[in-house]
Symmetry: C4
Subunit: 246 residues, 4 copies
């Protein structure tokens, strides 16, 4: 109970921090409440530092970090401890120009167990199960996408580079165009003007439709399977004779 209050306070503080980082970038807000952001930042770093030291001290209650010194060092190099450390360390370094405050959002994962009992837990589990079950097919889709981007960019480069040397200066630069076309984003900053370039683009854009259809189909069968599996395990009994079916 006592633990839960601390957990929720820390979650609130982390979320406030993330909102502060986002809102701070708006000039109007920063000019009006700049002072406040500095104080809030200092307070947050203090609390995060204390929390980090406290967790480091108490990590020995866990079985795998139970040895006084080596255990604490092992804890220090664990992923969650490093994330915790990076969330406040840059503040103490005088000449750090990198803004790592955004890493604080990653700290929210630590508190995910609290949400375990919420109503979205089943949905989260279902989606993550489907993504896990279809991991290989989805990764293959991404590999196909990358292969398509490389091949299409190479063809497109040779088709357009002479007509628009500033927009298609090299194959890596053409890849940018290829991604925006295959994903149907189509900003319009780069587009072909030669006939062969336009025909190629038409083919790429139509292939792009397949790129949407493939993962949609994979996930659809994944969800169907997962739900079917779930039903099979819940033993259906016949209300007439009481025997278990399927």
């Amino acid at each position: 109970m006592y633990k839960k209050v601390i957990d929720y306070s820390l979650i609130t503080l982390i979320i406030s921090n993330c909102i502060a980082v986002i809102v701070e970038t708006v000039d109007v807000v920063y000019n009006s409440f700049g002072e406040f952001f500095v104080i809030f930042e200092k307070t947050s770093v203090c609390i995060f530092t204390i929390e980090y030291l406290f967790r480091l001290w108490n990590c020995t209650i866990e079985e795998r970090f139970r040895r006084p010194i080596i255990g604490r060092l092992q804890y220090m190099v664990s992923l969650r401890a490093l994330v915790d450390l990076l969330a406040f360390l840059p503040f103490y370094l005088p000449f750090s120009t990198v803004d790592l405050r955004f890493i604080r959002i990653l700290r929210l994962f630590r508190f995910m167990r609290i949400f375990k009992l919420g109503q979205y837990w089943n949905a989260t589990k279902l989606i993550s199960n489907v993504l896990k079950a279809k991991k290989e097919e989805l990764i293959l889709c991404i590999i196909i996408t990358f292969a398509l981007i490389i091949i299409a960019s190479s063809f497109m480069y040779f088709a357009e580079t002479q007509a628009q040397p500033d927009k298609y200066p090299s194959i890596p630069a053409t890849m940018w165009w290829c991604v925006t076309t295959l994903t149907t984003v189509g900003y319009g900053d780069v587009f072909p003007i030669t006939i062969i370039g336009k025909v190629l683009t038409a083919l790429i854009a139509i292939l792009g439709i397949g790129l949407f259809a493939l993962p949609a189909g994979i996930l659809a069968s994944g969800f169907a399977e997962e739900l079917h599996k779930g039903k099979g395990r819940v033993k259906t009994t016949c209300p007439h004779c009481g025997n278990i079916i399927q």
Copy 2:
């Protein structure tokens, strides 16, 4: 029968009102038929006021509003009565600058029971059942989308703000770009020009494909399930005793 005629007349009036609100905004139309719109508006408001008072007077025939005074007050604060009120009230307020006439379209929901017997009722029911059954998964998709937008915007802001301070002035402003990219709208008013920004955009756009595939897969399994459920109720027999189940 008599009731149905009034219902249909009111539906026609509401739809005419909505069309009037839409068409009125076209300057050419307003300059030519301005007078007509004013008269039509006055007539409509009169009819809506009479209808409102009539409904308020007769609401006591419903069980839950049966007490003469308290019942009518309870009716007045009910959602449908408030929508009815807001549909004409602003007309009577002399200095109301807000155009609430569009709220009249919401009044159509009141008459939806008429369509209950139409041929699209089954389809409406099927789609709404699927959306209800998959509500949590779909809300989770929206949550994931928002989380993605926040994280992607933060990274993108740090990548692009120095190269294009006018287009990526702050993280909230970058979110606008992020939405148009993730949903593959891609207006082209804002697009990255740095290499790191382009690589990030490529990743975001490819993730955007997943954003389309996930709800498509969820809904596909939802429809399959719903249809299966409907069929299952008629036919399944227990292999042990031969009785029909469900």
Copy 3:
């Protein structure tokens, strides 16, 4: 056999006509081969006129047009005869400015029975069966889309008209923007600049994803159902005892 040769010749002529109509619009081609197009047009019209008169004369062999005069008049007002007529009639009218030659592509439907035995016939039948079975759900999707466009355009008009009176001059004009956003085309000729307009756009664009997911889900379950149905009808027999299963 003799009939088949004529059918194929006419198909070739119609397709050549369609290609001619398309290619003729290219200035370079027209300036070089203008003479040829005129001759080709005249020849085609002659053949189409003869074919039309021949079909009109012989229509009495069909049961429903078997009466000599009334039957031929009934044939003349049938859809296919009207399409045939419109395919060449404008040529004979001296002052016709409307280019109806493109209607000739519709004549291809008449010859579709030839393709009935081709390898794509099963696929065509499957897709058309699914579209028929899911007609109501799909029409409902289109109705929802139109409702969304009307509501979203109205809100957007009030949000943006003061900031960009030239781009959002009226609700019907805003609908154009709304269609390009909901379908994620995003030309970039019109886009919001106010904060409230951008927030609304974000919501509309995310709803647009659902607009893609809904028909995809409906069609996915439609195809699954159709294939399942097809299998049920093909009587599976057990290879061990020869009995029909399911």
Copy 4:
């Protein structure tokens, strides 16, 4: 074992070649490391030539090329040998202006058997099986798309050519616009400005959603079927005799 080392070395060399072709097009890189690229190219061509001659000499160990002279000639005109040849031949031709080096990426297919045991093999097989099983439906989708593009472009041309003669100069040119709209890419280089053009575009864009939904639905049912088939092979028993079928 010895064979595997050579295979992997050749794969590494081919991938390096492809990367070199891509990176070489970047001016900055070419100016700095131009010399290196020339040497790398020469070395690669040498190795590819030796490999080609070696493979040509040893092709007789395969059953179908076992005859000393005719077998080797048959091997030379086989697809994989031609690809191998084209990968280095242009280097030896003094005045070849065509850059065929990119064909080298196709050589990777030859080594695909190595990946056969990898973890992605099942996923590759599943996806290719589904694409094969649904080949006809997918090709039909592409045919429908092309028909739609031709019809929509013709209508659009007549609607917009007078208002924007530079953007919609001919039907083939309008097809470019039509592809970018139907696939929802929407670069924004060409867009309608007349009312009839905008209404047509709205219809085309909404049809474009169906274009995404159709293959997604087809593939979804394809994946479901394929997975079902795989499961069905192990378990189905005939209710009449109790034997396992398939």
